[in-house]
Amino acid sequence: MGIIFKTPAVIIFVVAGLWGFFISLDIAIDNLGFLGGIISFFLWPVTLAFAPWYEALAHGNWFPCLLVYGSGIAGGVLHAIGAAIDKDSER
């Protein structure tokens, strides 16, 4: 039964994660140029973690942060609920 929560969680992770990554990459290219963009692409976890915060603190645009971290938290909570239900039904 936990799959009811896990399926939306996975879709949130994939869609918001990919979209958030490309937005973060766009932020990195705007500020670091093409070469910086290439480096950011290969260092994608760092880009995904820090570029939204840079955009939020430097330009006051909190939406990239909301997209990346909000979807991470929402997906994580849904996945945790699904895992708890699965664990409970195994007993």
């Binding site: 039964m1 799959i3 879709i11 869609v15 979209w19 939406f63 997209l67």
Partner: protein
């Protein structure tokens, strides 16, 4: 009686699952388009997912959740009854959309989306049946 109830609940769960996924994807789309309005292809992909993935997830939930709610009803009964109801609805909407496309010239795009949505519902239902077989065994 339980078989009829399971069929009704599967159709309701289809709608709920569809609306749930479409809402989640719409919220992601709204937040992301405010984050960077000029990032090009992702809004289109998101709209495509809203149109096609949401009914697929709805079809998956319809069979999967109904089978877990009505454990005494055989999975084949739930699957066949859900697919039958969905097929009747698909045929009705197919005639309506096809007529609109031919007579009113509404364009092939909407008709194509409808065909994809129908396929997604049936594929989702099939996936739900497969997963339930794994869980029930």
């Amino acid at each position: 009686m339980k078989a009829i109830l399971s069929t009704l609940s599967s159709v309701i769960i289809l709608v709920l699952g569809w609306v749930l996924m479409a809402t989640i994807l719409a919220v992601i789309g709204i937040i992301a388009s405010r984050a960077r309005p000029e990032v090009g292809v992702f809004p289109l992909v998101n709209i495509f997912l809203m149109w096609v993935l949401s009914p697929g997830v709805g079809g998956f939930f319809a069979v999967y959740v109904t089978a877990l709610l009505f454990r005494s009803v055989p999975i084949s009964t739930i699957y066949v009854s859900f697919v039958s109801v969905a097929a009747v609805l698909v045929i009705l909407f197919f005639i309506y959309d096809f007529e609109r496309m031919v007579l009113e010239g509404s364009g092939i795009g909407k008709f194509l989306i409808f065909v994809l949505q129908s396929g997604a519902i049936f594929l989702g239902a099939l996936a739900g049946k497969t997963f339930v077989n794994d869980v029930r065994e």
